[in-house]
């Protein structure tokens, strides 16, 4: 399902009704010479919300993020932070944001301590606060032992932590994370997700981009799906799954050692029946059907056959299916 311009505007309007918004993108477009990287995107993020921004490579996620953090200033439309239009107002807004870039290096001669002192100073912290915040941040990230190590001597995972650390150093209200979990081992991913959730609980508003859907599903309160520079849909993971009727599948489980139900294919509303296990089958329904009527017809059929049903449930599409449908729908 692809949203047209009208539906996209409806989403934006719905979001406008909420007054607690901290970030707002209003009809933002960005072009790189021939390439239209972002096309009229609009969305809002509420205070304390974790907003997962997903989309395939090249969809425009990093461009959106760079506009939000002020690295790209040449774009059409408006971006508001705390109700302030970011155009020409960056002076007072920079310190509200912490940014974890997808790629960012540090000057190789720096130690973590030296890098953090410079970033702290640039973010306007005084020397006492810098010391306090460096200790707190390093403890949070389990990097205290590495404080005086040269950055070039850190492992990949530690380097990623360092990127997160510099974003957290000045206790920003908004944390913008561009693919923060890519390249991390499972333990580190778990640790990162825990930190992100804790930060959100303490009131930090978080936007994070990823193409790893399970991570988004685990953390995000709201998800924006981006493809080819357009926002395809926005909602909570549950809402997206509920509103997306991919094939409408019914799972049927019968009692052990009893035959599976036969003849369901005879119903015109049914696409096909898939036998998954000896006692489990998946009934794939046609699209554009009255779901209540179909359930009634299937129930009748099962009753006629005296099937010993143990489970009858409508299978929700996974977030991955929702996402793929948006992406494939566009590329077909």
């Amino acid at each position: 399902m692809v949203l047209n311009g009208k539906k996209s505007k409806d989403i934006a309007k719905k979001n406008d009704l909420n007054e607690d918004k901290l970030i707002e993108f209003r009809n933002v477009s960005k072009r790189y010479k021939e390439l239209l990287a972002l096309e009229n995107i609009s969305f809002t993020i509420q205070k304390g919300e974790i907003f997962g921004y997903i989309g395939p490579n090249g969809a425009g996620k990093t461009t959106t993020i760079k506009i939000l953090v002020g690295l790209i200033k040449d774009y059409k439309g408006n971006v508001y932070i705390n109700g302030i239009n970011t155009k020409n107002n960056w002076k007072n807004l920079h310190n509200l944001i912490g940014y974890h870039p997808q790629e960012a290096g540090f000057q190789e001669w720096r130690t973590i301590d030296h890098a953090f002192k410079t970033f702290g100073c640039l973010s306007g912290l005084n020397s006492e606060s810098i010391e306090k915040r460096i200790q707190e941040t390093l403890e949070l990230l389990n990097l205290s032992q590495e404080r005086y190590k040269k950055i070039t001597h850190l492992s990949g995972g530690m380097f990623q932590k360092l990127r997160l650390g510099q974003a957290l150093l000045h206790k920003p209200q908004i944390l913008v994370l561009d693919e923060p979990l890519s390249g991390l081992d499972p333990q580190m991913r778990y640790q990162f997700k825990k930190i992100i959730k804790e930060l959100a609980r303490s009131g930090t508003t978080i936007l994070f981009s990823s193409h790893i859907l399970s991570d988004v599903q685990d953390i995000a309160d709201k998800i924006g799906i981006l493809n080819q520079g357009q926002i395809k849909d926005i909602g909570s993971p549950e809402n997206l799954q509920n509103k997306f009727h991919i094939g409408n599948i019914i799972e049927l489980i019968v009692a052990e050692n009893t035959p599976l139900c036969e003849g369901l294919e005879d119903l015109s509303e049914i696409e096909y029946v898939e036998k998954v296990k000896l006692n489990k089958q998946l009934v794939h329904l046609k699209s554009e059907i009255n779901i209540d009527l179909v359930i009634y017809l299937i129930m009748n059929k099962l009753k006629e056959q005296n099937c010993k049903i143990r489970n009858f449930s409508l299978v929700k599409p996974s977030l991955e299916e929702v996402y793929l449908n948006y992406v494939r729908g566009e590329t077909k």
Partner: protein, 220 residues
């Protein structure tokens, strides 16, 4: 505020990465070595004069290479993004680099020349005529180094490959800076020191102005 911080950071960086060590001790050492390798042709020439010539010519090339390759490499590794998301002026980043490298070179020249003069005083080779020429070479060298530093920054901002930046720096960097003494060949009676200083300061300001404009327009 950010300019001062970046400037001292750059100096610390050069100190920690041994760049200063190589400049401050390498250049005078090189001058001595030349004297010992080919003493016949340099008969009677004071060490201080030789140092001024060597340091000025090599220092210019070193500065343009150092600045251009460092900036390209830092651009490619997205180092600047972490600074630019904070309330800093973009121009501070390149101005700090310019001043830090220039200061390092001026100190290198001063150390080299002091050692050379001391050496000449001890050996009794200090000749007044050569002192004047040494001073002239020094002024021309310092002025041209300011220009090469600004040209190095321009290459760094414009180019995106480290080898290309290095090649351009060697081919063009120090050669362009020698433009400041060209007028003396065509217009007799011009004061070389005054001309070098005037053109050095003017061209450096113009080139750095262009650099700041280019860097401000750069998308990271």
């Amino acid at each position: 505020m950010s300019l001062k911080l970046f400037f001292f950071d750059e100096l610390k960086g050069y100190a920690k990465s041994k760049v200063m060590l190589v400049l401050w001790f390498g250049l005078p050492l090189l001058s001595f070595l030349i004297q010992f390798v080919n003493p016949a042709e340099l008969e009677g020439m004071p060490i201080s004069f030789l140092v001024a010539i060597v340091v000025s010519s090599i220092g210019g090339t070193l500065s343009v290479i150092m600045l251009s390759t460092t900036i390209v490499s830092e651009k490619n590794r997205h180092v600047y993004e972490l600074f630019l998301i904070r309330p800093v002026r973009r121009s501070s980043l390149i101005l700090a680099k310019f001043f830090a490298v220039y200061l390092c070179l001026v100190i290198a020249v001063s150390i080299s020349l002091t050692i050379g003069l001391l050496f000449d005083a001890i050996t009794g080779d200090l000749i007044e005529n050569y002192l004047n020429i040494t001073f002239e070479s020094l002024i021309v060298g310092i002025s041209s180094m300011a220009i090469t530093c600004s040209i190095g920054i321009m290459f760094g901002v414009l180019v995106s490959s480290v080898p290309l930046a290095a090649i351009l720096s060697v081919y063009l960097g120090s050669q362009l800076s020698s433009l400041i003494i060209l007028p003396t060949f065509f217009i007799p009676g011009l004061n070389t020191e005054v001309l070098a200083l005037t053109l050095g300061i003017t061209l450096t300001i113009v080139i750095m102005g262009i650099n700041i404009l280019l860097f401000n327009r750069k998308q990271f």
